[in-house]
């Protein structure tokens, strides 16, 4: 967005005043439409039954904290990354390890599966995002085929392929997000607007167009237009770092998990927060959130080792899952919604259903 020449009457003082006026106006416009709460609208909805969700598989093999994981579109393979620099591809049905790569850095905070299932991307303290094509030959040295794609000036916090294997979206401790061409490593678009580390991102479901949401240490969640690089909406109601953001399956809303111990739901068309998922007894940060297929359930992994399951419409907690022996750091629902996987600082991943 080019910065036009300053108008003769624009000084720092007049701009500051206009900025305050606009911020107040924004709050007023949002408040005008706040005619009801989501849980009030959902009063007539039938309550969910008792949930019996258990650990169905435990994936053991990482030598240190699991920091990130992602599902393959085939609904059974999983890639996970760890503090010790290892990236492992698992078959979640059998719990077998299919591939393992050792990264040249520790704290591999981000990993993602390519839509084709033929490659994985990862990165962390090396400030880069690298793509490894997965070979059918188990003996092949994957590290030899590594392709460096993204370069940031601080740690890589999250990465995601777009609709194809050709482009990757990244977020970084340097306060920016960026879109890269995998083949050439070229920077296609950069996204500036956060005033501190960006910790997470999520792409809108493909039907809803080219946008993505990011969350950061500045307590803001920003929605971006991928083509223009413009920030189209911004939400600042959390009281601490936003560790995780995830779109609602319809694309009209997104959830966030934060160090302020709450998860929140923001509706994009109402342009405001519409629900808070919290309890007085929950005092530890939420590190990772994801929706079930219909959007009715929100799963949150927390730093107190538990997973809380929330009724998105009614705002109540329907279940609390115990099992991990340290912080839950990452959580994703499988592509067909039959299970979800959680990764933890206790070195394991668990599949729940």
């Amino acid at each position: 967005m080019a910065c036009q020449g300053l108008q003769p009457n624009e000084t720092l003082a007049t701009l500051k005043m206009e900025s305050e006026t606009l911020k107040t106006k924004l709050e007023e416009e949002r408040a005008k439409l706040h005619d009801v709460e989501l849980h009030q609208v959902a009063e007539r909805v039938e309550a969910l039954g008792q949930f019996v969700m258990k650990t169905r598989r435990t994936l053991k093999g990482h030598g240190n904290k699991v920091l990130c994981m992602d599902w393959c579109k085939d609904k059974r393979r999983i890639v996970s990354s760890s503090q010790d620099g290892k990236v492992i591809v698992w078959d979640a049905f059998t719990t077998n390890k299919e591939h393992a790569v050792t990264m040249p850095c520790t704290w591999v905070m981000a990993c993602a599966y390519a839509p084709s299932g033929c490659a994985v991307a990862c990165g962390g303290l090396d400030n880069k995002c690298s793509v490894y094509p997965l070979s059918l030959d188990k003996n092949e040295n994957l590290a030899a085929k590594k392709k460096s794609v993204a370069m940031h000036t601080n740690y890589l916090s999250a990465c995601s392929f777009t609709n194809s294997d050709m482009q990757i979206l990244t977020s970084s401790g340097d306060g920016t997000c960026a879109l890269w061409d995998v083949e050439s490593g070229q920077l296609l678009q950069s996204f500036h607007g956060h005033s501190a580390d960006v910790l997470c991102l999520d792409l809108a479901p493909s039907e809803t167009g080219n946008t993505f949401v990011s969350g950061g240490c500045d307590k803001k969640a920003n929605v971006w237009d991928m083509r223009s690089g413009q920030c189209i909406q911004s939400f600042e109601t959390h009281e601490s770092d936003i560790n995780s953001v995830r779109y609602y399956p319809s694309g009209d809303a997104f959830a966030s998990g934060s160090d302020d111990a709450t998860c929140r739901l923001y509706d994009l068309r109402a342009d405001r927060e519409v629900a808070i998922y919290s309890k007085e007894s929950i005092i530890f940060g939420a590190s990772s959130v994801d929706f079930s297929l219909s959007g009715r359930l929100l799963f949150g992994g927390y730093n107190d080792y538990t997973i809380n399951v929330w009724d998105v419409l009614k705002g109540t907690r329907v279940s609390i899952l115990f099992g991990h022996e340290n912080r839950v750091s990452t959580l994703r629902v499988s592509p067909d919604g039959t299970a979800f996987c959680s990764g933890s600082w206790d070195h394991t991943l668990r599949i729940w259903a």
């Binding site: 967005m1 910065c3 300053l6 624009e10 000084t11 720092l12 701009l15 206009e18 900025s19 606009l22 911020k23 106006k25 924004l26 416009e29 949002r30 439409l33 706040h34 005619d35 009801v36 709460e37 989501l38 609208v41 959902a42 909805v45 949930f51 969700m53 169905r56 049905f93 607007g193 413009q230 920030c231 189209i232 909406q233 911004s234 609602y248 399956p249 319809s250 009209d252 809303a253 509706d267 068309r269 109402a270 342009d271 405001r272 519409v274 079930s292 297929l293 219909s294 959007g295 009715r296 359930l297 998105v312 419409l313 629902v333 067909d336 919604g337 039959t338 299970a339 599949i351 259903a353």
Partner: protein, 66 residues
């Protein structure tokens, strides 16, 4: 020099706010109703909500003669 960069930063902030102020918004009652409708329409296809037993991760139930 720093005052001119402050000015540029402030201008960007004001431009961004002007942009955000212009967007069309719907009432929460409407937005909430749509979110709810989506949930209910898709509930039956949501394995974690329906608790379907033919889940590849759950052990299959076995019938046995007593």
């Amino acid at each position: 020099m720093s005052s001119s960069s402050n000015l540029i930063t402030m201008r960007k902030i004001v431009q961004q706010l002007r942009f955000e102020a212009k967007i069309n918004r719907v009432k929460v009652s409407q937005a909430a109703a749509d979110l709810q409708q989506f949930c209910l329409e898709n509930a039956q296809q949501d394995p974690l909500v329906t608790g379907m037993s033919s889940n590849p991760f759950k052990p299959p139930r076995v019938c046995s003669f007593l």
